[in-house]
Amino acid sequence: MFKKIKKLTYTRPFRIIINGLWKDNPIFCMVLGICSSLAITNRVENAIAMGLGVTFVTVATSVIISAMRNFIPSRVRMITYMVVISTFVICVDQFLKAFFPTISEAMGPYVGLIITNCIVMGRAEGFAMKNPVVYSFLDALSCGIGYTYTLLIISIIREILAFGTILRYRVMPQTWTNWVALAMAPGAFVLLALYLWIMRTLAKVEPEK
């Protein structure tokens, strides 16, 4: 029984999921997709929208690229990625505009910037281009979720400290002094630095020389 569980940890899907969520987490191990993770995480709702948006685009792109991987000439593959990615980003953008206009307003151009989020392109080029659809799907999904939970953690801390709320519900006492700096860029940078420090120590990421 014990061996069976251990054996499970040596299967492809398990490894892919663990890598996306933990060992190769896009943010704290590969340090990709930082721009959006900082710029929009001052509110939890933005972080959820961004995380799900990136997850959706990554999954959809990876599946499509993986399905077409044998037909894409290597010369035009970058352009192919971009067309595919930006098409899905347009979907996300229109979806947000239609159903969550306030979030769409708050995120502004950052929705469009999912296109240049390194995670999407990185998974397409690094994984989907050489793996079958099912694995690419799993890989993209776990990377997307790994990305989303990181955004959530950062945004929860930021929103509590900067506005005293979570999803706009008050959690801190009325006397709480808002840490305005955390809602802005400097706080975001320092907070991410601390997060990276903790996570990289926990996940034992080897620092580059």
Binding site: K3, K7, Y10, R12, S74, G122, G126
Partner: protein, 376 residues
């Protein structure tokens, strides 16, 4: 919302841009046919202009890369022997001084502009893959296990005694190298001797997870460390720990040929509980007068009641070579020879042991070109 105009427009614009780019490329980029030589033996021809990374991908050689050719991940390191041009500032960030002098480059940044020669680890492109099933697992010592793998597909394997294979760790893209411990004459199955390395990815899997009946995928055979069959020199083998593997393969093979050459095998371990295959080797020793097995312990425990050789294996080798040089060691030397120059030597073990052994052998007059070794 009207979607037809945008879609048509998008296609028109895409088309115009593509045509423009193709036109610009044919006018601006000089077309030249370049040769790409991989590991001195495989020659590809390709048009100039592409990066090495995309060239490899096109030829189904997959180099690790996470960022997709943007020089931000630094994973696609390869060795360019010549024709790569000067190192670019984009690469310098990732490449240490030591790697730089060894010719390491980022494959995504090297453009093919002229004939180019590169070195790739063999498993990246010469991966002949074997499927096998675990037939037997047994413990040799407290931390070393013996595995027998029966080949399923292809059904047989041809290798030279001393070579290694690479086992694919399931669920990952990682490979770990292990020397084959069995004779190449037994070509429908291979045997491996694997030590449990604390925290080691593959050895943990092999020791703690693998069961009889499980499937294993490996590639091979690889390696320049193998028995030189064209020679008829007397052989000295020196091994430590799991270095037993390739040496056992060599000795079993020679035994099957009736031990045509004289072989002395020095095997080093720390204590008696780290010794293995002593019985098997002693059997062979009895059977073939040409073969001599000399196990030695570096730190024997009192309860071991060890009566054999004591000391680092290299010290033992040195003592024996002294006797040999003086012509007194007649048990396995007929006296036909005049010096150690007629010896051929095969070494396998941890790097410090190999380095020390090479020093001893060359000091005693063994020609360095007759010393073959495999460090792990």
């Amino acid at each position: 919302m009207n979607l037809i105009t945008p879609v048509i427009l998008m296609n028109i614009i895409l088309f115009i841009i593509t045509v423009l780019l193709i036109f610009a490329e044919s006018v601006l980029v000089p077309h030249k046919i370049c040769k790409v030589v991989i590991n001195k033996e495989r020659v590809f021809t390709t048009e100039s202009g592409a990066s090495l990374l995309s060239f490899f991908t096109k030829n189904k050689i997959f180099i690790p890369s996470a960022c997709g050719g943007k020089a931000t991940c630094g994973h696609c390191k390869i060795k360019v022997l010549n024709g790569g041009g000067p190192i670019l500032p984009t690469e310098e960030v990732f490449i240490t001084q030591k790697e730089k002098s060894a010719g390491i480059r980022l494959a995504c940044q090297v453009k093919i502009k002229q004939d180019i020669e590169v070195y790739l680890p063999e498993h990246l492109f010469e991966a002949k893959e074997y499927q096998a099933v675990v037939e037997e697992i047994s413990s040799l010592t407290h931390d070393i296990k013996h595995f027998t793998l029966k080949l399923l597909e292809p059904k047989t394997i041809n290798f030279k005694p001393g070579q290694y294979i690479q086992i694919k760790v399931p669920g990952t893209e990682e490979f770990r190298a292990y020397s084959i411990a069995s004779s190449p004459r037994q070509n429908d199955r291979i045997e491996l001797i694997i030590r449990l390395v604390h925290g080691g990815l593959c050895s943990t899997y092999m020791h703690n997870v693998l069961e009889v009946g499980d499937k294993v995928v490996f590639t091979g055979p690889f390696g320049e460390f193998f028995l030189r069959e064209e020679s008829d020199k007397e052989i000295i083998c020196i091994a430590g720990g799991c270095g037993m593997s390739p040496i056992r393969s060599i000795i079993l093979y020679l035994a099957e040929l009736g031990m045509p050459r004289k072989v002395t095998y020095f095997f080093g371990a720390r204590t008696k509980k780290d010794l293995f295959y002593v019985e098997e080797m002693t059997e062979l020793e009895k059977k073939y007068p040409n073969f001599k097995f000399i196990p030695a312990l570096s730190e024997p425990e009192p309860e071991d009641k060890w009566e054999g050789e004591v000391g680092l294996i290299t010290q033992v080798v040195e003592r024996y070579l002294d006797i040999y040089m003086n012509g007194r060691y007649e048990i396995y030397l007929s006296g036909r020879y005049e010096g150690a120059g007629v010896l051929e030597s095969y070494l396998c073990g941890p790097p410090p042991m190999i380095d020390a052994a090479i020093k001893v052998l060359t000091k005693k007059g063994v020609h360095i070109e007759n010393v073959y070794y495999d460090k792990f």
